[in-house]
Symmetry: C2
């Protein structure tokens, strides 16, 4: 009998490119900031003017939004596209600052946001309602200890985690009165530490953990890898730990001590002094979060006083010509099934 | 935030004692053979004589059987006890040869077998019927692809596996006409190979795999580690792979490619040329299999012609003063719940 071939390889060398960093390595807390300049604002005015003349629903296909953006906002589109792709090799996060959200109507905000997302990549559905733009706010449903609630629906602090698409695009429409700051850490730096501190446990992270589907999809639970190494690229997905802790309700198999340790260690490495950068998003900030290489978290927040509650808009987009890896590393990379799909 | 403490340590050094071997290292295929001599046979006659005078049901408690054995068979008891404990550090398997099964009635065989088991350790229940002595034979129910069937109930070949107690004691009453030979490999040697060939996957083996409970117990599936390292002792349990492959029917979570590889690799290392010893049990052979350090398998068999079908009797016993390790490494080490227990 010959020995079997390994289905994938385990990376044994540290990651040394710009995606592996400590907070002190960053020039600014946001990693990279591009501020909009007057010509960009003029392009946005042209975009909105063209849109008023020929309305386009946000549900319209990406190619239409992409064409409109390229035509009416050539400089801003080039900037957004470059920022998005640069996150793959440099820092893994960036902020496009100064979108004129206070001067725009809610519909105009969503249109501009849809157009910029379409320039950066292909947006996918984030829930079984098929939403491509989800509102990240307090839905008043409580925290993640309720099995009905997802991370974007609560004002509670969130643990370090990844979202599903290559990029999460978070547009700050209204910041919180208190709290809600972003924390961002390099998953590549975490991996480099694991190589030293827990090399024999790497297989656990590559094999992944079982997550509860929060009643949104069948099957009720699924395995997702935390790290994968394909075509010379190390990729991470670390979904909300809360869904691992509750998965036993669907599988009858509780989290083991060793699994709990592996998850605790990952999060402790993200949260240790100097690892994460923390800052508050401002109204008009579009935050790019590259889920392939970084993890993010958020502190709890309270309402914004007279101006209404904290509101972020979220898109998940996949980069054109992006990394090639199997869905065992990101089950919902190409979006969640809508309930309509699930029933047909 | 400080880093969490690991719940257990991973052994990074090879095992170098007598439990790590290749087939060519063994003096005889059985590892260790002790043949009964006339004084032992005389003791057995005395034992049976005493038993006829004062019958003792096999269900009677261990202390009674132990006392009877020590009193009526002092030499054979000392031999059996020494053989059992020596498996912990030397080879991990042995055969006590020449029990006079052909001269004894079925009840006498069970009584002698019960007494020898009681000398070696504490027997535990092997199924939800609460059987302490199970018959290993073809129950005519088919193979392990049926979710109702357990390994001891089929004539199919069995993969390499462990049983639950520290020792499996297999008494050959009737060998098969064809096939049914035993294969035994050192789990410690397999570990030494894994240290070299797949060091980053060790965490997977320590974390273990999810096994189906074959409808015998709640919960319907459970995790069991394959290796554990406690108090300086490396211990293995590798339960029948078939129960891992079918566990998704209870959990909704299929075996991953990396898990399948880890299981395939373990079994390939057991089955590779030179690793396992193979031999046929003879009528009257009592085979000791130390599940802490070795794995065993069996080839398929056919009926024994006129003399009836192949029949082994099986006990699972735990050694007095045996290893200390948690049940996460052997869920049923102390026996399976009987259905009566489960309902109360």
């Amino acid at each position: 009998m010959t020995l079997p071939d390994a289905p994938q390889s385990i990376r044994t060398e540290p990651v040394l490119d710009g995606t592996a960093w400590m907070a002190a390595d960053l020039a600014v807390p946001e990693g990279v900031v591009s501020e909009l300049k007057p010509p960009h604002l003029a392009e946005i005015a042209a975009f909105l003017s063209e849109l008023r003349a020929a309305p386009l629903p946000v549900q319209a296909e990406r190619a239409l939004w992409q064409a409109l953006a390229h035509r009416s906002m050539p400089e801003l589109s080039a900037l957004a596209h470059a920022m998005a792709h640069r996150t793959e090799t440099h820092v893994g996060t960036a902020v496009l600052r100064g979108l004129p959200v206070d001067a725009l109507s809610p519909d105009e905000i969503r249109s501009l946001y849809r157009a910029l997302g379409a320039v950066m990549g292909n947006a996918v559905s984030q829930n079984t309602a098929g939403e491509f733009i989800a509102e990240v706010r307090d839905y008043g449903m409580g925290g993640l200890n309720s099995s009905e609630v997802r991370g974007y629906q609560t004002n509670a602090a969130l643990r370090f985690h990844s979202d599903d698409g290559d990029l999460a695009l978070l547009l700050c429409v209204r910041p919180a009165a208190n709290g809600g700051t972003s924390l961002i850490a390099s998953a590549m730096t975490i991996y480099n530490e694991l190589l030293i501190r827990a090399p024999h446990l790497l297989g656990l992270y590559y094999n992944g953990f079982v997550y509860e589907n929060r009643d949104e999809e069948d099957p009720p639970a699924y395995r997702n890898a935390i790290f994968g190494y394909y075509h010379g690229q190390l990729t991470c997905r670390y979904f909300l730990r809360d869904y691992v802790d509750s998965a036993w309700t669907k599988t009858s198999v509780p989290v083991s001590d060793l699994e709990r340790y592996a998850l605790d260690l990952f999060e402790a490495l993200a949260a240790r002094p100097g690892a994460a950068t923390e800052y508050a998003l401002r109204a008009g900030d579009l935050q790019l979060v590259n889920n392939n290489v970084i993890v993010h978290s958020r502190r709890s927040f309270t309402a914004s006083g007279n101006t209404g509650q904290r509101l972020l808009l979220r898109q998940w987009v996949n980069l054109d010509g992006g990394r090639d890896f199997p869905t065992s590393l990101c089950r919902h990379r190409y979006g969640m099934q809508t309930h309509t799909d699930a029933r047909t």
